[in-house]
Amino acid sequence: MDVSNHTILSRKKEKAAKALLWTAVLLTLAILLGIILYIMVRGFVSRQEKSYFVSPFLEETLKSEETGEYAMKIIVHRQVKISDLTMEDLRTIYTKSRAENWGHYSMQDKRITALAPSRNTPLGKAAETLIAGPEGGFGSYVAYLEDDEEMIRRIAEDPAGIGIIEADTPVTNRKVKVVPVRRIVVAVHPSVKEIIDNRQLSVITEKELKLVLSGDITDWKDLGGHDRPIRLIRPPEAWGLDELVSPSDIPAADSPEDFFRMITDLPDSLGLCFYDDAAAGGLSILEVSRREVKGNLTLSFLLEPPARSGKWGGISTIILNTLFLILFTLLFAAPAGVLAAIYLVEYAKQGPLVSLLRRGTETLAGVPSIIFGLFGNIFFVNTLGLGIGFISSTLTVTMMILPTIIRTSEEALKAVPLSYREGSLALGASKLQTTFKVVLPAAVPGILTGLILALGRVVGETAVLLYTLGSNYELVRGPSSSARVLSLHLYFLFSEAISFDRAFATGAILVFIILLVNYSTTRLIGRAGRMSG
């Protein structure tokens, strides 16, 4: 069969158009999924490259030359969310004069209960020497216990407890866990940390350190330093660190003093030693960074109240505040908006006044929220004297979403066929009965959609709330109490650079709430719409 040129051209155009459409669709999908996935991944998992003075090597059993044969281990309650502690942290916890907070180490807002073995026992003496360091003894808030049994029992009872027991004592209580300590540092000759070409080598990664110690990296250049070979020094046997250093053909230190001398005298040298020894020997330290992957959006993040501006704790009160705001706003706005729409569609005489009203609501629905914030602050907060707090913000947000609710409800009511109204009126129903028993139920799916749109605006609203709700992150207590909702919390976490991880976790929750709301509305609308075929 002959195909005319025109047909061929049409086919080609069709193909080109299809390709263009598909590109647009895929691009949109990629952008959408990209954004949501990014927020979800960053919200759920926190990945950080953190550099420490001490290297990532863990020690469960702690001892030193001064403590002699008394080796010890550190135990905490299982609910304390730490996987290890640095020597500095441990020292801070035990030597502070006032109770330290776990927030600094595990982001949990709870006062640390620090327990130590009695100073009368050899273990107690050894622990104080080792942990408090050369400068002084334990802080005054540390409590002392007589034996390890009691220590384990007390810590099992106290979710904020930390204690010290003998290394040989087995820990069988499931509520108690042993925490390894990091106190091995990388000591280098000062020449290594010299500035060359505007660059200074001060941090290496965990991976690089392992390669250096196994002898696979032999030049400082590979670590970003100057072009000279790394001179690895074997630590003295007494420290028990020689297992960590693999090459055998390297200079070995006979004693700690020998080690300090070699590190300070030999240019380009590198060796492992303990935190306190490095300080005592006045050695240069190379910091080591490690990648820390942790659950970000955890159950406890959802269930704990925030502390320290949201740096510690979770967002439980903030989620509740958000729900309260949504609830009360809809409580005010939904009846008012729907009734206004009923008036406009069913009762008002369609004249210039109504069209003016309609144009007004349309304009208000498009007004930037910050203007409502300004209005709320001037009118509700100041003129009416309600102050910054829950009631002012609820009223302001109600004002903000009312036009949207009126507009969408109007459309929903207008979409109800006239024949329903006629059918009802012809049966002798009054206008009121017709409106509330026939028209309104038929408009429910549309009205619900409008309410959800409005709800989405409330959940995402920040500008208005900044001026009317304040920034208190505790649970709303009354109409005048200042509060914080999710979007506002996210804003503060971000703008005050408190924590990006927490900002993302909060963002993920916001996205979740929106998803949940949209899903449940679809279900609700489905149920309401079932009667209409």
């Binding site: 024949s419 006629e422 049966l427 002798g428 209409s532």
Partner: protein, 253 residues
């Protein structure tokens, strides 16, 4: 045919939509327990006329009515409560318009708004109305299913049942079969025949055969004027006016 008492007495009825006169000087009498058919070409005012009988034209802005419409001797535009009137005078529309509710709720709606709350009474009313509308057999097992799931013909009979549930005196039908297939149409026509025993029926129809089949008296409307009104047989076989004859024989309309 024996004489029936008069149900409606319409005298000098004029109806204006704004400046546009839709009904001119309509005067006629509708007898009780008869089927009165209103025929005429599109735009002749027959639908407007039927809507004046239960005051459905009140819903439209800028409508002006002069003249008298007496229902059982009472002027419905002066001395009758509109809700009471519509309760007595039910209406079935051109397009089936069941509410988006269950079949049961559709029927029970009318009685409920008129104050009947007893469940057993409502149940009886629903059953009787559906039976009277010849729909009971088809829907008795799915009373609580959405009414909009019914076929067009069933929906229209549901609308009739809905009107009957209010226990009216008169049933107005505005082209009740124009949106239906022939089988559904014939069922509705049979139904009209049955209903005639209990109710006074006024039906607007486009379908001349239908008017001939179902009605006892026929009024022929043209340009808002009643050209001829009388027994259906006479209108169809022996019209007085040449325009009626022209319309009946299909020369216009």
């Amino acid at each position: 045919m024996e004489e029936q008492p008069s149900k409606f007495r319409i005298k000098d009825l004029d109806l204006f939509y704004g400046d546009n006169q839709a009904l001119k000087d309509v005067t006629l009498e509708v007898r009780s327990h008869r089927v009165t058919a209103l025929i005429g070409p599109s735009g002749c005012g027959k639908s407007t006329f039927i809507r004046t009988l239960n005051r459905m034209n009140d819903l439209i802005d800028h409508v002006r009515i002069t003249g008298d419409v007496l229902y059982e001797g009472v002027n419905i535009y002066a001395d009758y409560d509109v809700i009471e009137l519509r309760k007595r005078i039910g209406m079935v529309f051109q397009k089936p318009n069941p509410f988006p509710m269950s079949i049961y709720e559709n029927i029970a709606y009318g009685p409920k708004i008129h104050g009947i709350t007893s469940k057993s009474l409502l149940d009886d009313l629903v059953e009787n109305s559906l039976k009277a509308a010849a729909l009971w057999e088809e829907v008795s097992d799915r009373l609580h299913k959405p009414a909009l799931g019914l076929s067009g013909g069933q929906q229209q009979r549901l609308c009739i049942a809905r009107v009957l549930a209010v226990e009216p005196d008169v049933v107005l039908m505005d082209e009740p079969t124009s949106a239906l297939d022939p089988i559904s149409t014939s069922r509705i026509e049979e139904l009209i025949f049955e209903l005639k025993k209990k109710y006074t029926i006024i039906i607007v129809t486009h379908n001349m055969q239908q008017a001939g089949r179902v009605s006892d008296t026929t009024a022929f409307f043209l340009n808002g004027v009643v050209v001829e009104y009388g027994d259906t047989e006479k209108i169809f076989f022996n019209p007085e006016d040449s325009r009626t004859e022209a319309y009946i024989s299909g020369r216009f309309g």
